[in-house]
Amino acid sequence: MSQQQQRHGPTGIDDPIIEMRDASVTFDMARGSSRVLDNVDLDIAREEVIGIVGESGSGKTMFASAILDSVDDPGYLEGEVTYHPEDGEPVDILSLTHEELKALRWKEIAFVVQGAQSGFNPTMKIGDHFIETLRTHDADIQEGMERARQLLEDVYLEPKQILESYAHQLSGGQKQRALIALGLILEPDVLVMDEPTAALDLLMQRSIVSLLAELKEEYSLTIVFITHDLALVTDLADRIAVMYGFDVVEIGPSEELLSSSGHPYTRKLLNTVPNIGQGTAEMDIIEGSAPDPVNVPSGCTFYPRCPLADEQCEQVDPPLDPVGDDHFAACHYPDAAKEAIPLAHLEADE
């Protein structure tokens, strides 16, 4: 265990706000047990923006749920998740009672879901959501609503009008921004966002990303931005973690990860995104399909689709090994991968 700790290491992080060790989520299903998060080790640094990128079925949403032990039954979470408040003792999240978790949520770690989903109660005014959240956490309502108005202005909304509206009266982009403001109402340190912009138009998506960069500075936030869209998060994120087959396969500083990714999946994923800045329009494809959680391949989860796979990949699950400064990839052959899969977006620059 201690050896493993060291090997995976805190992936280059000195002052983590959240530490996740060996986190696994399992569902028992009729056709076998389904592992939708597989021994994830990940540290999130204080006041960083970390992008968690993965396609559907990669485990990225389970990762979000694991941070606050909010995995839905019958799934169960094992491992360790530790929250380090700025001052005070570390909190072992998995040992908290339901009540203690509730207190931690919103005040310390806030979640923002996709606005198109059930973010707001359709029968309540937006303002009532703010009041209710403040009341539930015994916060000063008047002071809190002052803050609410400021936060709404921060996200380019007209506070008076928005607080008096019902969710259906707002556009998707307005709803999503109101949800971000609501997430920040109790001054959390960490904001976890699961596909916060997926249902929105590009112009709104990108505007929200630009907004988050401002909010992060203003409120000293740590942001966990979970998305399927690698290109969207690159400007905002300090670090990016790529998930594939229910585990992190590569993690590193954004620019480094984009320019010298060590994992074949990351490299192929980058090559499947059309990139307007690129002169030529040659794109790569990834053959095959993502692994089935009931029947995860032994060894490296990517080997059935990987052009470089050999016997070792089939048998031995590669650990996250350093491939650069603060940059780790779970691949047996990171150098060969760089050789074999040139990055289209770099070629075009030359």
Partner: protein
């Protein structure tokens, strides 16, 4: 007969929309309290040639789907006309509905022929495939209807051949599957084959790849391009994502059209739109399109990040409320479509150096 017709009318564009407006009306209290009306499409002209690709890009509610449906005769325009190879679609429909085939003169294209030539693939392939049909049953339908001279074994051979062609092998196995046994990308391929079996002149692909995983999108677009060559068809590709529109149109040598609040505000070759955008809205969309080789988000190049209510569009240029370049004249005057170059038009005063815009006062920041 139809073969002959197609050859005769090769000079005409497959589809020509002339000054098309589509108005939707919503009656309040059964019309007693008046009507709300929205011009989902407002005065758009667009021609699509044989073997052409046009990608329409815009935010939700900009009218791109309505314009697409109008192009393939699924939506009747309130004003303006839609012509299929030079013949008005809605006139043809009325004429043929009267059942008096004698009214059809030599050279008239039957409405059923137009319908068959104009196909659509949707965003959600699962809902466009019959859940109770196997892939083979699904694909047999158009062949039975339009190529009834094929024998059963010929039909099957043709279907197997196409499945193999789109990479769904073993075809024997795929032919017997039901839609729920296919992945999203495979479902979309079946939908694509089904529409191609009609030998269409134009396929409307309405957000056809948006629901697919990122790594699958390029694969399906590549297939569309490949099939376009093989079947000599045109695409009207609708997307909210400029990067995908760029990829498809670039590889097909097509055009990109940008829509905003019911209007086509800019259209041109892919290189013109990307490297020489004229409309500030096009520039904003380019800013919004993430690029992994750039590194800074920066502030949005728009003054207001929310879209105005489409049922009450702003006066003058509809983009003036968000446009960073807007001046007084933009509030009052609606810009016509200006020619920027041969294959590039934009609806912005800034494209003409002599316009009074340049002497007009910038709009104050406060609305």
């Amino acid at each position: 007969m139809s073969q002959q017709l197609t050859e005769q009318s090769d000079d005409e564009p497959v589809i020509a929309m002339n000054d098309v407006t589509v108005r939707f009306e919503d009656e309040r209290f059964f019309g007693l309290a008046g009507k709300d009306s929205v011009n989902a499409v407002d005065g758009v002209s667009l021609e699509i040639e044989q073997n052409d690709v046009v990608a329409l890009v815009g935010e939700s509610g900009c009218g791109k789907t309505t314009l697409g449906k109008t192009a393939i005769g699924l939506q009747r325009p309130t004003d303006g006309s839609v012509e299929f190879r030079g013949q008005d679609i809605w006139d043809a429909k009325e004429r043929d509905q009267l059942l008096s085939l004698s009214r059809r003169s030599e050279g008239d294209i039957p409405f059923s022929e137009m319908r068959k030539s104009l196909q659509i693939i949707h965003q959600d392939p699962a809902s466009s495939l019959n859940a109770n049909y196997t892939v083979e049953n699904e694909l047999e339908q158009p062949l039975k209807k339009w190529q009834s001279d094929l024998s059963r074994s010929d039909r099957r051979a043709r279907i197997r051949g196409l499945l193999e062609y789109v990479g769904m092998t073993p075809a024997e196995d795929y032919a017997q599957r039901y839609p729920h046994q296919l992945s999203g990308g495979e479902q979309q391929r079946v939908a694509l084959i089904r529409s191609l079996l009609m030998n269409p002149s134009l396929i409307l692909a309405d957000e056809a790849i948006s629901a697919l995983d990122v790594s699958l999108r390029v694969e399906v677009m590549d297939l569309m391009l490949d099939l376009q060559d093989r079947f000599n068809t045109s695409y009207l590709f609708i997307s909210h994502d400029l990067a995908n529109a760029w990829y498809l149109a670039k590889n097909a040598g097509g055009r990109i059209g940008i829509m905003y609040l019911g209007e086509l505000v800019e259209i041109g070759s892919v290189d013109e739109i990307v490297n020489n955008p004229q409309h500030p809205y096009t520039k904003a969309l380019l800013w919004a399109t993430p690029d992994i080789s750039s590194s800074d988000v920066g502030d949005p190049p728009i003054r207001d990040i929310d879209i105005p209510d489409p049922s009450d569009p702003p006066s003058g240029c509809r983009f003036h409320t968000r446009c960073p370049e807007a001046r007084e004249v933009c509030r009052t005057d609606s810009p016509p479509i200006y020619d920027v170059s041969d294959n590039h038009q934009a609806s912005c005063f800034r494209t003409t150096e002599t316009h009074e815009y340049w002497n007009s006062q910038p709009l104050p920041d406060e609305q």
